[in-house]
Symmetry: none
Subunit: 259 residues, 2 copies
DNA sequence: ATTTTTCTGATTGACTTTGATTGAATTCGC
DNA sequence: GCGAATTCAATCAAAGTCAATCAGAAAAAT
């Protein structure tokens, strides 16, 4: 039985079902019957269909919204596989944080790992543009400041010209930055210009830049320039990081840590 | 609408259980029965289920929270019970949003309901200081701008002097505000001064202030002044709102909508 | 217009969940 | 350590919910 949809009223009902579901998160069949003016059998069929599409999870008595299409931080956190490398890098970065520091956390999965390790550290101030990092520290943790800005959905970070205004008010001790590409010629690069704009802003404002980048970033060049190597003080990476590149970076005065 | 007090869906109950657990850290079965309106047998079954998921540790008489799975704010947002009143108020507020608007969403549960209804509205720009509202719109939705600031954990909002800098760069058409107290003498009041500071900042910056407040706020006075009644243009509330107060507010030029 | 196909809603028996009961296990007071 | 009180797990009946099937209605195709 192939999926040949004859468009009757069904798609319209699905859309309304989606709407109800988005709003309530969990719905019971009984309520949907009233809401959609359909029989329980039809509602169940619709739910079964949406479940096959991966949009809902059916449970006894109704269904719950699958947040995958919503892209909530929870889902992202689940999806982002925290590799052992990234976690090791993050743990090494912890060593650079001292009591009383005001630190900046950039977007990116490696830095996110670092954020997770900061939940007990109440003697520092964390500044970030990453909604995911903020989520990690939203329940408990150090003082947390978000710089304002427009949400870039794909990275869940706040970017753009607005970020400038809060940043200029703050004095940052250390910034833990991520990057998409790291090369001798192009320096730090990332995919999005407004993301790059904010990164450069931060790096111009902070006393010490600590770059967290796993070995896959070595030699890569992405679209937009996000900073110069001259601004980087420490690079924390893993053992697989290209050795020649590491030596040249060290020669440029960057402290390279491989864990 | 004669909402049947039938037993909720299992996942719903789990979510509330998680919430209680997060708040109290340890819970007794007896208390959960009252809180979840379920029998001891069901509560035990639920606890056994959550234990299998590794979220709680069962002990004699109840259960304790496993810390590692703690502190995800998304759960709180999800768990916040949205009463029918609040949802109705939010739905009424939708009428005030026009294509092209730049609107501000304040913190508070009623406004959060409104945020949930805005996921399809891509023809507006949403500005907010509420991390929960941002979470609702993080996956999909209109352009989203967070004003910067320091996180106030209890309300999950960004507050304080830093909020000023992004706000002054923005031109807002309508602000949907929440409040803790609303009275003729004290105007709008809230519990936290820095929260109040940000609220006043917003209300001074926006063309039209639309207050969403259920009837429990009527006549209440909280700690810090968060705005004058003169700045409020529309009040959307429920049918139970004190009638005398409503009339006096109307006399002051406020459009009072009761849904 | 008729046939074919798809969709809907009702019926039925099977399954799941819930709450009460009862005997076993655990904790607390002495 | 022993007994009383509480709490737990297992079982069962009742209620609710589900999937399968079938007949009729609506739409599409001929």
């Amino acid at each position: 039985m192939a999926n040949t949809f004859k468009c009757g009223l069904a798609p319209e009902r699905w859309e309304r079902l989606r709407q109800v579901l988005r709003q309530h998160r969990v719905v019971r069949v009984e309520d949907l019957c009233r809401e959609l003016r359909a029989s329980p059998a039809t509602v169940r069929r619709d739910l079964a269909h949406l479940e096959k599409l991966g949009e809902v999870k059916r449970v006894h008595g109704g269904a719950v919204c699958i947040d995958s299409s919503l892209g909530e931080p929870v889902f992202e956190a689940k999806a982002s596989i925290s590799t052992e490398e990234k976690r090791r890098i993050a743990r090494a970065a912890l060593e650079y944080i001292e009591p009383g520091d005001t630190i900046y956390l950039d977007g990116g999965s490696t830095v996110l790992e670092l954020a997770r390790l900061l939940r007990d550290r109440t003697n520092i101030i964390v500044v970030t543009n990453s909604l995911r990092a903020a989520s990690e520290l939203a329940g408990q943790g150090p003082r947390l400041i978000l710089i304002g800005g427009e949400l870039r959905r794909i990275s869940q970070t706040l970017v753009g010209p607005l970020t400038r205004w809060v940043l200029q008010e703050l004095h940052l001790d250390k910034a833990f930055m991520g990057t998409m590409g790291l090369s001798l010629e192009a320096g730090l690069t990332t995919t999005d210009p407004s993301e790059a704009f904010t990164k450069e802003l931060v790096m111009g404002q902070v006393r010490r830049v600590i770059l967290l980048a796993d070995s896959t970033k070595a030699g890569r060049v992405s679209f937009a320039r996000a900073g110069r190597l001259e601004n980087v003080h420490v690079l924390i990476t893993d053992k697989q990081f290209d050795k020649a590149l590491a030596r040249q970076l060290a020669k440029k005065g960057i402290e390279v840590v491989r864990v």
